[in-house]
Assembly symmetry: none
Homo-oligomer: 196 residues x 4
Amino acid sequence: MTSTPNPQRRSEKSHRATLAAAMDLCSEHGYGNVTVEAIAARAGVSKKTIYRWWPTKGAVVLEAMVGIAGDATQFPDTGDITADLCTQMTAVLDHVMTGPRAAVYAGIIAETQHDAALARDLRTQLLAPRIAAARDRLLVARAHGQLAADADVDMAVDLLYGPLYYRLLLHLGTYSHDRLRSHIERVLSAFAPSAA
Amino acid sequence: MTSTPNPQRRSEKSHRATLAAAMDLCSEHGYGNVTVEAIAARAGVSKKTIYRWWPTKGAVVLEAMVGIAGDATQFPDTGDITADLCTQMTAVLDHVMTGPRAAVYAGIIAETQHDAALARDLRTQLLAPRIAAARDRLLVARAHGQLAADADVDMAVDLLYGPLYYRLLLHLGTYSHDRLRSHIERVLSAFAPSAA
Amino acid sequence: MTSTPNPQRRSEKSHRATLAAAMDLCSEHGYGNVTVEAIAARAGVSKKTIYRWWPTKGAVVLEAMVGIAGDATQFPDTGDITADLCTQMTAVLDHVMTGPRAAVYAGIIAETQHDAALARDLRTQLLAPRIAAARDRLLVARAHGQLAADADVDMAVDLLYGPLYYRLLLHLGTYSHDRLRSHIERVLSAFAPSAA
Amino acid sequence: MTSTPNPQRRSEKSHRATLAAAMDLCSEHGYGNVTVEAIAARAGVSKKTIYRWWPTKGAVVLEAMVGIAGDATQFPDTGDITADLCTQMTAVLDHVMTGPRAAVYAGIIAETQHDAALARDLRTQLLAPRIAAARDRLLVARAHGQLAADADVDMAVDLLYGPLYYRLLLHLGTYSHDRLRSHIERVLSAFAPSAA
DNA sequence: AAGTAAGCGAGACGGTACGTCTTGTCTTTAA
DNA sequence: TTAAAGACAAGACGTACCGTCTCGCTTACTT
């Protein structure tokens, strides 16, 4: 168990104000230019309160990010694997890889490069569930014969999402919706069932 | 052009000592835990001297990284596109995405998320030449009929390298050499010439 | 009048525990290193309870000090002014200017330098009664012809007690019992009746 | 030797600005309401610079106080011990026990009650030299037959200065110049040579 | 005896200052 | 004239207490 104080007595108001302030400030000034002091001031919250509930700025912003990305990036299952991937990945693109939030998300990922605990939280809270969901959806598609029976779904996931993060984090430009669709179709073609 | 002083009078000894100290310290303590002060102290160089020749810590480490990665990741052309990609990408994997240097490289990429100038330098000095080389090699392969005549080589580059960075920067584990080979073969298969 | 709550419902147990904890902690760690939080924790009392009954830490410690010093420093009247001064001043020396209590007492006096209310309470509750008692005893002595008829008893009080506090608060060392007796005799000699 | 950095490289400008800011702020707001942050801000100096050269706020203010009191409270020797004591003690009264500086001086003395190093510095830099000077002056007077041959000059010093500090620190009111003269005369009378 | 108002322990809160740290600039010293 | 050494202004860090506050619980007055 952790040394976190009693969460039942936590002020929900301060909690929400902190997350909102963190997202606002990051969007306005960029993740790297935001300080815990500034978040506290903007939220009308004391620094102590922030440090009571989160270990670092990164953890605050990650929680805010999870809240935002959470609902928006669920995986649908309409039976059409191509359409479903387009739906979900377009949502990812639009919600966290475009506009001011792209920089925030990239900032958090940057932070994980020297904060192992944050890296773990990013993985468990944000990435792993979505990777698992993508994998499951692909397994369903494979079971339905939409992919080759021996298709390596882990590799498919890497090929689908890898380029998005690669282009985001190396500043190579984001895919347009059309380009994203071509990308998805190309990857799926690599795992298509052999012509019967 | 910048206000950099006359480079002819630059002390090559201090230059080299700085780069070496930067790489050593980053390897030992991780990019994020290294300070300019520490680099100066280790190199036996004054902070002023570092700031005279580089704008930030990131620029120092990037130059060191370019020096190390430079030679190792050239693109061969043996005529066999699969083999050549394996050769080059394995070198990339081994030189900058494995061991202590992985953290250093990831650290620099992290820094570029809030340092636009460094992002530019990373792209122009490190990434762009290698992307161009990969692209050229694939064009040659396509011209030789090893890829489909209408293969989109830009997309191929994204699919080849994207997953490597994705796994590095999101802490999802690095490919083994075998896995890398499978990965390359799978991508190339997506661009294979249609059976005639 | 203040907004102090109903004293009839006050928990005598908490009251005593607080005063005891305050004195203990001050003796152990020195007045300046004791916090209200620590007093509350040691006493098993909530901070709120302390602030309900006292305005500041100084007020708590002052009350504890008054309780301790109260009985011990009464003024006797045996008819021998020198002996009575020795008796009372030795008691003062031993009870509040020696050992761990010296630091506590000095700590309270220090606090009064930036807490006017505490300064007032120190004067009215601790000092004024004893100064008045000394003055009265000297007036009796003067009436009995043991001091000059025109002896300035206020000045005598200053000369008697001033050096004790001076040495305490400026860290110049405390008088021994013998030295104290010499001191008293010397002061009284300055106010002796002129030889007839 | 201490761990203080090289004093030759010290910025005299920052040094002076810090001392001046400390005295100004203490005079304006009272010793206890002044923070190191405020001193730094007023002086246009970084906190780091203050902590580089002084261990605590008290040490800064003490140095400022020593500078102010230093010249003003020298001991004259006109041959008339009463007049010389009046001169010096009146200067003390006027310079450090009256007006805003009284509170500053009392504040430092208060601080010494929980800062042993500051207590030592107060004694060695401010008190001891003046006590020694007073003692020396009294010894000269005794040698000249203005005091009894066996007069205890240490006790005389205690009796002369004790009441001044006692009244300052216990908030009992400061002596007027006239009252101070009476006080001095009364003390000297206690050590007068016996009538021949 | 039941109802109710208060004091109580606990501890989260907004706030302020702490003393430390690192950045990037500027000054001094010695070669 | 250059570079080492390192002091400097600036400002964020994470911590410690302050004095206030809100919670349930207990206790003891009131009706």
